[in-house]
Structures are given as structure tokens and as C-alpha cells.
């Protein structure tokens, strides 16, 4: 919402356009620059984008969540287990026969979202009620949640996810054109963009990160607001979990381990301040796309895979440096 963001938004967008332009030139025609590749890139970025929307709000408000990867895994386990258990007996599943498919899918999705939101509430209460710094609180819950998921599943991928869930939803497309993951990521992003930039809730989110005491004195219920942000982020983990189970027809304990840091990187690259009070969803969209674009481009260019990490790291450093310069410029006055 604050206007001075526009400059850095434009900078990061230009950087993305430049990266796309370079890859388009140096790769064989019809490989990188093609509709189907754009679809692959968006598909890869969609989960990160959804999680990054939650992290954008949290960072702006002065919070942090390192447990989103673990919550996603836990929720995915819930989704996969519930769906597998309700769809039919093990014997029926072995024949790929699922008598209660509709109920199973509906209940599993609801459970996944609720469990994600529930863990988010735990984070929120730890950070707000017990006043544990969010870095430590969510680091700890991340470990606990992942540990419980591991104990529950014995570290095994969860089996017996009904195959139609993957074939019709995970591999399915809206109007046979846009994969569902991308559609859902777009809807989530749009909702979060509107809430952040158009509503009282969004304004208060900025105010809390800019000056928590000022927001409190102005009558913002800062504690409830912060808890809600953690709950919302947890619910987003639930959404990603549903998409993950749909795509891979399993819940893997080892997936998503780097999600928290990837999301923070994407959000910061997109111009959101690590110090709170500043940030925009539009920047986050660009920030979440950059790693996926670099991955696709480097693979297609046949560049050593590790260069992708180098490139994302460099972009992240530049983004944080710009942020700090801004803060210093402000403190000087």
C-alpha cells in the first residue's frame, strides 16, 4: 500500500523480464519460451506462491513462520490418510476401486485445512500469548510437527491415495487448459492481494509491523490480529498439502523441507521488508516465480544445476541490501 514500494517492485519485475529474455534467447526455439513451459514453471511455482502469500503478511506484521514446510507435510499426511481410509477398504483400493470417493475427498480436504490452521493457531498462541520469539517458536513447532508426522507414518510415504484424485484433480485442468494447482494459487494470491491492499485488515497488518505499540494504542487488537495471521498461514499450508497429495498421489515426509526458507527468500526478493511494515503481494508473485524460472532456464540451457542456487542467493542478497538501504535512508532523517 505505501507508495515508495513501486520502485523496487518495478526493479524486481524488470529483473524477472530480463531473466526470461536471456533464457529465451540462449535456449533452442520452442523450448524455454513456450506456453507449455510457462505452464510447467507456474505449476512448479504455485505451491511456493501460496505459502509465500502467508509469509508476506507475517513478515509485514513483524511475525515469522519457519514451520510452514512441516505443517504442509503434516497436513498432507492427514489428507492422504483420511482420503485413503474413507475411500474404501484396502482390498478395494488394491483394485483401484473407491466406493466413497466423493465423501473421502471432501472430508480429507476439510481435515487438511483445519489441521493446517490448527497448527497455525498453536504458532500464534506461542508467539502471542507466551511471547516466545516467533523465530524460536516456529522453529520448535516445525520440529515437533515434522517429528509427529514422522512418528505417525514411520517416515513412510502414505499409500492408498485414491488414484482418481490424482488423475482428475492433480493432473486435471480447468477448461482443459490451466492446471488446478495454478488456478488455486491464482485465486489465493488474488484474495490475499485484495485483503492486504484494500482492507482495514491489510492496513493494520502494515501498521503492526511498522510500530506495534502505535497500532495497539490506535485500538488495533494486535494480539488477535497476529494469531489470525498465523492461522491463515497454517490454512495455506493445508491448501498446499491438498495440491501436493493431488499431484503426487502420496504424502512424502521428505518433501517441503526447504519451504520455509524458500518462501522467506521469495517474499524478501519481492520487496517485503524483513523488518516489518513494508511489502506487497505483487512483489511476492515475482519473487516466487524467479526460482522456478531460473530452474527451468538453467535445466534447459544445460547449465550445472548448482548455478540456480547461486543465482537465487545473489538475487536475495541484492533484495535485502536494497531493503536495508531504504531503512537506513529513513533512519537518517
Amino acid at each position: 500500500m505505501p507508495r515508495p514500494q513501486r520502485l523496487s517492485d518495478a526493479t524486481i519485475l524488470l529483473l524477472l523480464i530480463a531473466i526470461v529474455a536471456v533464457f529465451s534467447i540462449v535456449t533452442p526455439a520452442g523450448t524455454f519460451l513456450s506456453l507449455s513451459n510457462a505452464e510447467s514453471i507456474l505449476l512448479t511455482a504455485s505451491q511456493l506462491l501460496i505459502l509465500s502469500c502467508g509469509i508476506t503478511f507475517l513478515l509485514i506484521a513483524g511475525g515469522l513462520d519457519l514451520s510452514i514446510g512441516s505443517i504442509t507435510i503434516f497436513s498432507a499426511v492427514v489428507v492422504a490418510k483420511v482420503m485413503g481410509a474413507l475411500a474404501g477398504t484396502a482390498a478395494q483400493a488394491a483394485d483401484f476401486h473407491y466406493p466413497n470417493l466423493g465423501v473421502a475427498i471432501t472430508v480429507a480436504i476439510v481435515c487438511g485445512l483445519l489441521v493446517g490452521a490448527g497448527w497455525g493457531a498453536v504458532n500464534g498462541l506461542l508467539a502471542v500469548k507466551l511471547r516466545i520469539p516467533p523465530f524460536i517458536a516456529t522453529l520448535a513447532t516445525g520440529g515437533i510437527v515434522l517429528g509427529l508426522a514422522s512418528v505417525w507414518t514411520n517416515g513412510q510415504n502414505v499409500q492408498n491415495v485414491p488414484l482418481p484424485f490424482q488423475s482428475s484433480f492433480g493432473l486435471g485442468k480447468l477448461f482443459e487448459v490451466i492446471p488446478w494447482s495454478i488456478v488455486i494459487a491464482a485465486v489465493v494470491t488474488a484474495v490475499f492481494w485484495v485483503v492486504l491492499s484494500k482492507t482495514r485488515f491489510g492496513l493494520h497488518t502494515y501498521a503492526m509491523g511498522a510500530n506495534l505499540e502505535a497500532a495497539r494504542r490506535a485500538g488495533v487488537n494486535v494480539r488477535r490480529h497476529m494469531v489470525l495471521l498465523y492461522v491463515g498461514t497454517g490454512a495455506l499450508c493445508g491448501i498446499v498439502a491438498v495440491l501436493d497429495v493431488a499431484r503426487f498421489s502420496t504424502a512424502s515426509i521428505t518433501s517441503h523441507s526447504g519451504d520455509a526458507l524458500s518462501a522467506i527468500a521469495a517474499v524478501v526478493i519481492g520487496g517485503t521488508s524483513l523488518f516489518g511494515g513494508r511489502g506487497r503481494i505483487s512483489g511476492t508473485v515475482v519473487g516466487a516465480l524467479i526460482p522456478a524460472v531460473l530452474q527451468s532456464g538453467f535445466v534447459i540451457m544445460d547449465v550445472q544445476p548448482f548455478w540456480q542456487n547461486v543465482a537465487v542467493g545473489v538475487v536475495l542478497l541484492v533484495a535485502v541490501y536494497v531493503d536495508q538501504v531504504k531503512i537506513r535512508a529513513q533512519e537518517r532523517t
Binding site: P2, K198, Q330
Partner: protein
């Protein structure tokens, strides 16, 4: 003595004890409508506790507070705000990454009409327009209404905070050391702003300050506290800075005009 209904603020016998320390020992205070009233006193005299009582941040153990003749008992800052009292704290309580309009309306954002408003949508256009009008009325020197408040000068930040108080206050504006951190030119513009609140909005201002020259330039009357009690209330035209310093340090409890400290006017 004036009828209490004619006073904007009337404080009587307010006591506040923190453990063994009695911060206020039966303080009285009278603020007339539309006056700039300075609150003076050495450190520990009870100024900030009295301000907190009026801001609703502290509930007194004893005593009464009347606003425009109506008795009030504040149990929180919201109560004081509801009674029309706004406070500009020394830290200004601004959100530095937000523009002036968002700061002016923080916590009281206007909703969009209709369904959108009920969904929590903010009417940014109205916010910006009202903020512009209001700032113009106070003749503040803020040009870019879209700039982050954090990027503004100290005087401009002060102006935003004062403007916010003036915008929402209807009974009293309190300012805690508004010029403490400012340079000469900026101090001048803040004092001008304080006068404008009185002249344009007709609101009384309670000014807490250590800076006697500033007080003499802007205040109509003053009250001096010492050790939790009122020792002097006088028109600025009736006292000299020596009188005030004596009152603050306890060298004399009588004003040069012979006015009794306990009796205003």
C-alpha cells in the same frame, strides 16, 4: 471561582500511589475552553502521571475528572478517546512505513459504502481527501501525501501526529514535549500548529514542556506541579520564568501577584 461547567477540564483531588511512592497527592487542574495550558514541573513532579490519568492509561486511586462539566472515570485509553481526549506522546506513535493519511486514520479507517465496507474494505479515496483537507487546515507543510511518514523530517512527523490528535480530539489535546527533539525552524512550525489547533478548531491544548521560552511564546496559562501537588496556576502574562523556576524547585509557592496556588484565577 468559575463554574465547573464552563471549564473544558476540571481535575480535583486526584491521588495515585505506586507502591510506596505517591506520584499524585491530590492534584487539581483547570483547563478553560480554547486555551493553551502549559503543564510544568521538575522530573518526578507528577506531570506524566497526571497526563496518563487524563489519557486513561492510569486509573487514579482518588479524585474526580470532569470533561466539559461531565464526570468521567476512565478505565482505559479508549474511554479517554471516547470522551474526546487525544494525546500526542513523545514517541509520536506513528507507523513510519505508512503515508500520512493512513496514520491519521489508523484504527479508525473509513469503510467503503455498502457490502464492501462491511467486508472491511477501506475507502482510501475518502481517507486521502479528508487527510489533505485536514492537514491544509492546520497549514502543515506536508507536500507528498503518498510518502512514508518515516521518510519525513522530525517537524513533519510531529505535524502528522498533532494533526491526528486534532482530527479526533473534541475536548482536549495533550502534547508531551512536542518540541524536545526539534530544531529552531521546526519548533517554530510546531508552535504555530499548536496555535492553529486553538484558533481553527477551538480546542484546548495541554502542553507538557521543559522549554520555558516555548511555553511563554505559545501558552495562555500554566500550572506548575511539585511533588504530586499543584503549586501554581497563572496567566503567562502574570509570571516570569524566574517565578516558574521558583515554583518548580519549591523556593516559593506564591505567585508574584499574590495569587494562591490552590485557587485558579
Amino acid at each position: 471561582m468559575k463554574d465547573s461547567a464552563d471549564l473544558a477540564v476540571r481535575v480535583r483531588g486526584v491521588r495515585k500511589r505506586y507502591g510506596h511512592v505517591e506520584a499524585l497527592r491530590g492534584v487539581d487542574l483547570d483547563i478553560a475552553p480554547g486555551e493553551i495550558h502549559a503543564l510544568l514541573g521538575d522530573n518526578g513532579a507528577g506531570k506524566s502521571t497526571l497526563v496518563k490519568v487524563l489519557a486513561g492509561a492510569v486509573t487514579p486511586d482518588e479524585g474526580t475528572v470532569e470533561i466539559n462539566g461531565v464526570p468521567h472515570r476512565f478505565t482505559g485509553p479508549r474511554d479517554a478517546q471516547a470522551a474526546g481526549i487525544e494525546t500526542v506522546y513523545q514517541d509520536l506513535a506513528l507507523a513510519p512505513t505508512l503515508p500520512p493519511d493512513a496514520n491519521l486514520f489508523l484504527g479508525r479507517e473509513p469503510a467503503r459504502p455498502g457490502l464492501l465496507g462491511r467486508l472491511g474494505f477501506v475507502d482510501r479515496k475518502a481517507m486521502r481527501a479528508e487527510a489533505a483537507t485536514h492537514l491544509r487546515q492546520l497549514n502543515s507543510k506536508i507536500q507528498d501525501l503518498g510518502a512514508e511518514v518515516g521518510s519525513m523530517s522530525g517537524g513533519q512527523k510531529q505535524a502528522v501526529a498533532v494533526a491526528r490528535a486534532a482530527m479526533w480530539g473534541s475536548a482536549l489535546i495533550m502534547m508531551d514535549e512536542p518540541t524536545a527533539a526539534l530544531g529552531v525552524a521546526q519548533t517554530e512550525s510546531v508552535l504555530e500548529l499548536i496555535r492553529r489547533i486553538r484558533d481553527e478548531k477551538g480546542l484546548p491544548v495541554l502542553l507538557i514542556s521543559h522549554n520555558l521560552p516555548d511555553v511563554f511564546r505559545v501558552a495562555d496559562r500554566c500550572t506548575v506541579l511539585r511533588l504530586g501537588r499543584r503549586v501554581l496556576t497563572a496567566r503567562m502574562s502574570d509570571v516570569t520564568s524566574t517565578d516558574l523556576i521558583r515554583a518548580m524547585t519549591g523556593a516559593d509557592t506564591l505567585s508574584p501577584t499574590g495569587e494562591r496556588a490552590a485557587e485558579p484565577r
